[in-house]
């Protein structure tokens, strides 16, 4: 499900932003260059970013300001990257981690 806002009464989106592609747990996801990884993931309709190690609880985005660490994922091999404040780059490989 695509959760991108196509029309908005006040704002304009999609105006000439370059598109890039990342993979999220093996699935190819289209993104706009420079947007946070978390925005691209939510836009693709993916809500579960990771599961906690002990209770297997699904976690997603909470604060979106880089403070709560709910949204951390492994990006290009580096674990615990805050996806809400990290911009996408073409070809990024994003994976859930069990933390």
């Amino acid at each position: 499900m695509n959760r991108r806002i196509r029309r908005h009464p006040i704002l304009e989106f999609d105006t000439g932003r370059a598109r890039v592609h990342i993979t999220v747990n093996g699935r190819q996801v289209e993104a706009f260059a420079g947007e946070p990884i978390a925005a691209a993931i939510l836009a693709a309709g993916i809500r579960v970013f990771r599961r906690t190690a002990r209770l297997d609880s699904p976690r997603g985005v909470y604060c979106a300001i880089g403070r709560c660490t709910d949204c951390v994922m492994t990006v290009d091999g580096t674990p615990s990257v805050r996806t809400c404040v990290t911009p996408v780059e073409d070809g990024m490989v994003v994976e859930s981690q069990r933390v």
Partner: protein, 169 residues
């Protein structure tokens, strides 16, 4: 003061200086400023081309409307940051009143459309016909939509639901 849950009664509005008076509403097209709290804010005063709105100092004063000076141009409707201004014309026609309201949603209705006129609590009142859509650069994306409604709803119709509102992203 203001109804605790955000939907004012007519009594509360009529008690404020932004109410032009029943007599005025009977005679002409005029603005109704449903501004009831002492928030520091005064762009309506500066924007009114007829100088019909007075706030003065301090800027927490509630705006007062001079119904005689008001021309019903609807600039205040678009300018108010709180979307609290409306222009009413009780005797738009023999049967219908007209109400100009601020609108910032999509899709924008068009002249001739039928909409559902709603009251301050979002309750359906009657069907309305869009007779005017005003957009201007200085309105900055706040459209002013004038809708005709049953005359008895002139002081109640303050919102609309546009049919087939396709808001799916």
């Amino acid at each position: 003061m203001a109804r605790a849950d955000g939907a004012l009664s007519l009594e509360e509005i009529a008690g404020c200086p932004g109410w032009p008076g029943e007599d005025c509403i009977e005679r002409k097209r005029v603005a109704v400023l449903e501004c009831v709290e002492d928030i520091p804010c005064n762009p309506c005063e500066a924007a009114c081309p007829a100088h019909a709105i007075a706030i003065g100092s301090p800027i927490t004063n509630l705006p007062a409307i001079d119904g005689e000076r008001c021309t019903g141009c609807s600039v205040c409707v678009a300018i108010c940051p709180g979307l609290a201004c409306f222009v009413v014309e009780k005797n738009h026609s023999a049967d219908l009143a007209a109400v100009a309201m601020p609108y910032e949603l999509l899709p924008l209705p068009e002249v001739g459309d039928t909409v559902r006129a709603l009251d301050r609590g979002g309750r359906y009142l009657c069907p309305g016909e869009v007779v005017q859509v005003q957009r201007a650069k200085r309105f900055d994306k706040t459209a002013v939509i004038t809708v005709t409604v049953e005359k008895r709803f002139v002081n109640h119709a303050r919102s609309m639901e546009v049919s087939d509102r396709d808001q799916r992203p």
